[in-house]
């Protein structure tokens, strides 16, 4: 069977048309190769840039947004509204009703795994990516 195929293949190779160089199996193999490379690229070459932001209010997930779309989110916390900006693959606390403003000072976050918390208003941001660089943060 295999020999027969090879003979046929060699016969077709003698023709000059380019399409004749490829049998359907070759195309399939190529496709698998390309898909494989793409998959491995996704798996191993995941840049650390985040794709989504998860907003939590107290013990609940308040919302999860893509970082691609520009957006202003108002989260009604214990003390009042926390304003979160999302733009160009980044997210930040823009305004907070808390005293310390530590959360606002964290400025823009853009990498997967980065997080900012407003303890007084119990609002937290966590950036999510393809792969989590770590399971939890020690601080």
């Amino acid at each position: 069977m295999r020999m027969l195929n090879l003979q046929r293949y060699l016969k077709r190779l003698q023709c000059k048309r380019i399409s004749a160089y490829f049998l359907p199996g070759d195309v399939m193999l190529l496709a698998i190769g390309v898909l494989g490379v793409f998959y491995l690229f996704q798996l191993l070459w995941s840049t650390e840039h985040a794709t989504k932001v998860q907003i939590r209010l107290a013990d609940k997930i308040y919302a999860t947004y893509s970082l691609k779309l520009q957006r202003e989110v108002h989260v009604p916390g214990k003390l009042g509204d926390t304003v979160i900006n999302i733009a160009n693959g980044k997210a930040r606390f823009a305004q907070s009703p808390c005293q310390g403003q530590y959360c606002v000072h964290q400025a823009w976050l853009s990498l997967a795994g980065q997080a900012a918390i407003c303890l007084p208003n119990q609002v937290s941001l966590e950036l999510l990516g393809e792969n989590k660089p770590y399971d939890s943060l020690n601080y």
């Binding site: 698998i32 107290a58 310390g100 530590y102 303890l119 939890s136 943060l137 601080y139």
Partner: protein, 357 residues
């Protein structure tokens, strides 16, 4: 042709299955101890994991209410620590306390001795004076004479006399603030409970102090260590079964007055906040049953090192049997113990640091 198609389908199936074989991971978050509590449980059904996590959160809330340092009642429950502090300030009136609280006091006394008095939860009055017994930290007016008086009064854990469940203090200036102990203690309580319930894999984070149970899938739990001045991790490391990690920093609880940073870690010798460190991280192995547990040590041991500075770090860590630690001083210079250097994965590969011999 059909054969090739079949193998293609097989390949696709393999990819899909590898995604499905991921262990279930339950994750819950809450605010207790005035900070963020984060519990991950792997390998249990969502229903059971949620039940277990809720139980742990409830335990934490109870501990928080019992050990609250500056509210007399929390959630209509009188703070046992508040009652104890009131008794201390009234002179040598013995007070009956619950056995586990008596145990905690004895443990804290031992730890305080080991730290050469630098870990001293008896200086609650100083902590209050600096404005760190509030939900939010704003600059205070520095009351130098009062600070001096409180340092002179020299409240120490050794002033506490515990006999059975009856407790009194020889020093009426002693006021307990367990802010450097309770979270670590709670980690150990949670791990003991989860183990007893047959949970194999969990990761618990209370305000940055993290303890691991088992692992995550076929890999150890991985923890990021916060950069003290940037909103990102400085390094990551694997936290093996039973290990705990703790960091004390000047970047979570602090205020700035006239351009000077004042953090929540007070040097009991001077009465002023320690000012020569940005952060101190310790990694604690599992401990024998009759000793202080990993959670408690991860909370406690960072404090004396933060106060005493880099030159004393090896000696102090050794006193608690700890070999893995990292210091970032006021000039952002990083020092890492030899053992710790082998475990850290730096986020920025160009980072400069000194490894201790």
């Amino acid at each position: 042709m059909f054969k090739i198609f079949k193998s293609l389908v097989l390949v696709a199936l393999c990819f899909a299955l590898s995604a499905c074989f991921k262990e279930p991971l339950y994750h819950s978050q809450s605010y207790v101890f005035g900070t963020l509590v984060d519990i991950s449980i792997a390998g249990e059904s969502d229903e059971r994991a949620s039940m277990l996590a809720n139980h742990v959160m409830q335990d934490f809330q109870n501990l928080h209410n019992r050990l609250h340092a500056w509210k007399a009642t929390v959630a209509n429950q009188p703070s046992e620590l508040g009652e104890l502090n009131a008794a201390f300030s009234n002179g040598k009136t013995p007070l009956n306390i619950r056995p586990d609280l008596a145990q905690m006091l004895l443990e804290i006394r031992t730890l305080s001795e080991k730290s050469e008095g630098l870990f001293n939860p008896g200086i609650g009055q100083l902590i209050g004076l600096w404005g760190f017994q509030r939900d939010e930290f704003t600059a205070v007016t520095i009351d130098a004479p009062q600070i001096k008086a409180l340092v002179k009064a020299n409240p120490r854990m050794a002033d506490i006399v515990v006999s059975n469940q009856s407790v009194y203090s020889n020093n009426s200036a002693l006021k307990l603030d367990l802010g450097g102990y309770a979270k670590g203690y709670a980690l150990d309580v949670a791990v003991a409970y989860l183990r007893q319930q047959g949970v194999k894999n969990a990761l618990i984070n209370i305000g940055g102090n993290v303890i691991a149970l088992g692992q995550h899938g076929n890999k150890p739990w991985r923890v990021g260590i916060q950069h003290p001045r940037q909103p990102t991790a400085i390094a990551t490391l694997d936290l093996a079964d039973g290990w705990a990690i703790g960091t004390s920093g000047d970047y979570q609880r602090y205020f700035i007055l006239n351009g000077q940073r004042y953090c929540h870690i007070i040097d009991p010798r001077t009465g002023y906040p320690a000012q020569h460190m940005q952060s101190v991280t310790v990694l604690v192995p599992p401990q024998a049953a009759n000793k202080s547990q990993a959670g408690v040590l991860s909370d406690v041991v960072t404090k004396p090192i933060f106060i005493a500075g880099a030159t004393q770090s090896s000696r102090l860590a050794q006193a608690f049997g700890i070999q893995d630690f990292m210091l970032i001083d006021e000039h952002a210079h990083i020092t890492v113990s030899k053992q710790m250097a082998q475990k850290l994965h730096w986020v920025n590969a160009d980072v400069k640091f000194t490894t201790l011999p």
